[in-house]
Homo-oligomer: 316 residues x 2
C-alpha cells in the first residue's frame, strides 16, 4: 500500500485526506465540528470522516497500514492522552483509546503545528531541508521544529509550545494565564487587539471605515489599510512585525535552522510582512551580522500541510 | 588508551586535565591567560598547557587519540573558526588551525557551556539523564542542551545561545547590543546591576556596609544580606529569582527536559535560589499544573565539568 491517510482536527472542522506516493492529496473531506460537543461524539465524527475519505479513494480504512491525526494541544505520545488543549479546553482526554474503538489500524497522534511542519518538510516549502522551524500564526501561535529531518517535540513529546515562550515577561496576558508569552504578541488574536488599540487612538484612521465595511476588525484590517497609505495602520503592521521578528530572533539564536517557515493567512503578506521580517530579523538575533540568519519564507501547503504531516506521523 | 584529555579555555585561565576511565580527573593544571594577548600566543600557551598536563599524568600528548577544547563563544565545527566570542571580543579566528600547528592529534572544539553540560551528563549531576538543559550563571548566561544523550547545539553547531533569547523585548541592554536578552536579566553581571540599583533606593540597607567590607558589590551581596533579614536585599533576590524562573519556564516549554541544571557560584544558594526556583518555576511554564515541570538542581562538578566535557567532545 503506497497510500497514506491523515486527519487534521481543528476547532471548527475535521479534515481528512488520502495522499498518494508523490504526497499529493487524492481525496479530501471536511466535516464541521464543535469543541463544545462531548469528546466521544467528536472522536466518532473523526473516525467516520476517516472511513469516508478512505472509501472516496476506493479503499477501506483497513487497507492502510496506519492512520495519523493532528490536533491542537499537548499530546502525550506515551499514554495517548490529549493532556491539554488550551483553545479547546480539554484536559487529560483519552483521545487515542477512544479512537481505537472505531479505527482498526494503528493510530499516531500529534500536535497540529507539528503536523504542519512535517507536511511542509515532506512536500512543501521546506522539502529539501534538514532543519526547519515553522510558526503558524492564527488564533494562537503554533510551533513546529524539524531537526535532522526528524520532528522535535521535546524530551517527553509535549514541548515546542513556541507560542508560550516569553517575549515580554510581565507583559500582555496570554490565554494560558501567563503574562508575556509570544502568543500574546504575535498571534492574529494579538494583532487584532493591537489594531483595535491603535484605532481607538486614531479616530481619523481609514481602519474604522474598513472594519465597518468588513463587519469586524480582522488580521487583514491593518495590513490592507497600511497598503493604502494609512499611517496608523502602518504603525500597527510595523509593531506587529517587530514582535514576530524578535520571536524568530530567539528561535534562530537557539536552533539555527536552515529556514524559517511562516504559516497561516498572514503569510500571504509578502512585502508587508515577509519582506520586512527578512530585513529586520537580524536586529533581534544574536551576532546575526557575523553568524548570519536563515531566510524566512511562506509555508506552501496551507491547510493541506496538517493532513499530509499527520499521514507521516508514524515515520517522524 | 583509556584516558582522555580536555582543555577549558576561560577568560582568565586555561585549565587542562587528564581523566581516567571512571571520568575522574587524575591531573590538572591551570595557566593564567589574558584575552588582550594575541590569539597566537594564547593558542601556544594552551598547547603547552595540554602537553604539560599529559606529561604530569605520565603520558605524552601523542598517546591520546584526540583532544577536546572548550571556549567561550560561537564555534563553527565545520570550519574550525571561532566565529564570535562576545566577551573576549574575537571574530572569525582560525582557532583550530592554529592549534593544529602545535598539537599532533585530532582536535575537537566546542562552546564552554556546551562542554559543561556534557561533563555533567557524563560524570555529574545529570549522569543518568537523557535530556538535560543547563544554565551557567556568570559574567554571561551560558546554555547547554543534551537531547537523547547527544549534545544539541543548533543545526549549524552555533546555536543554543540561551543567554540571548528574549526575556523582556526592549528591556535592559545586553552586551550583545540587543535589548532584553536573558543575559541582561539573569547573569551575575545583571544581578550586580540589580543589587546596585536597589542599594541606591535604600541607603538604610545593610548591603552598603557589606559591600564596603567586601571591597565591592558582587553576586553574593544581595543573597548574604537577604539571609540576615535585609528586606531590600531580599527583594533583589526575589526579583532575580523571577527572571531566572521565567527563563527556565521558556526552556521547559520548548524542550521539556528531565532535569534543569544550574551552574556557576550562585548555584550554591540552595534555599534562597534553587529552593525558590523549584517553587515558582511552574508560574512561568505553560500548563505546568497539568504537564508537570522537571526538577531544577545544582550542577555538581564546578569548573571540572568544562574539562571533562571537552575531553568527550569527540563522542557527543
Amino acid at each position: 500500500m503506497k497510500y497514506r491517510i491523515g486527519v487534521d482536527m481543528g476547532g471548527t472542522a475535521i479534515k481528512a485526506g488520502v495522499i498518494d506516493e508523490n504526497n499529493r492529496i487524492i481525496s479530501k473531506i471536511s466535516i464541521p465540528t464543535d469543541p463544545s460537543l462531548s469528546f466521544e461524539v467528536i472522536v466518532k465524527d473523526l473516525a467516520d470522516g476517516a472511513k469516508a475519505v478512505a472509501q472516496k479513494s476506493g479503499f477501506s480504512i483497513e487497507d492502510f497500514p496506519c492512520m495519523g491525526v493532528g490536533m491542537p494541544g499537548s499530546l502525550n505520545p506515551q499514554t495517548g492522552l490529549l493532556v491539554f488543549s488550551n483553545n479547546v479546553g480539554w484536559k487529560n482526554v483519552p483521545f487515542q483509546k477512544e479512537l481505537e474503538k472505531h479505527i482498526p489500524i494503528p493510530i499516531y497522534i500529534g500536535n497540529d503545528a507539528n503536523c504542519a511542519v512535517i507536511g511542509e518538510a515532506i512536500a512543501g516549502a521546506a522539502k529539501d531541508r534538514k532543519n526547519v522551524v515553522m510558526l503558524t500564526l492564527g488564533t494562537g501561535v503554533g510551533g513546529g521544529i524539524i531537526i535532522d529531518r526528524k520532528l522535535f517535540c521535546g524530551a517527553d513529546g509535549m514541548g515546542v509550545e513556541l507560542g508560550h515562550m516569553f517575549l515580554v515577561l510581565d507583559g500582555e496576558l496570554c490565554t494560558c494565564g501567563i503574562k508575556g508569552c509570544v502568543e500574546a504578541y504575535a498571534s492574529v488574536t494579538a494583532l487584532i487587539r493591537q489594531t483595535r488599540a491603535m484605532m481607538e487612538l486614531h479616530p481619523e484612521s481609514t481602519m474604522h471605515d474598513y472594519a465597518k465595511r468588513e463587519g469586524n476588525i480582522t488580521g487583514r484590517t491593518s495590513f490592507d489599510c497600511a497598503k493604502l497609505g494609512d499611517q496608523a495602520a502602518l504603525n500597527v503592521v510595523k509593531q506587529y512585525t517587530r514582535y514576530l521578528a524578535a520571536t524568530i530572533g530567539s528561535l534562530v539564536t537557539i536552533f539555527r535552522p536552515e529556514v524559517i517557515l511562516i504559516g497561516g493567512g498572514l503569510s500571504n503578506e509578502k512585502d508587508f510582512l515577509l519582506g520586512r521580517l527578512n530585513e529586520c530579523v537580524g536586529d533581534y538575533t544574536f551576532a546575526a551580522d557575523i553568524i548570519g540568519i536563515p531566510p524566512i519564507i511562506k509555508a506552501e501547503l496551507g491547510n493541506d500541510a496538517g493532513i499530509i504531516g499527520a499521514a507521516y506521523l508514524d515515520v517522524m
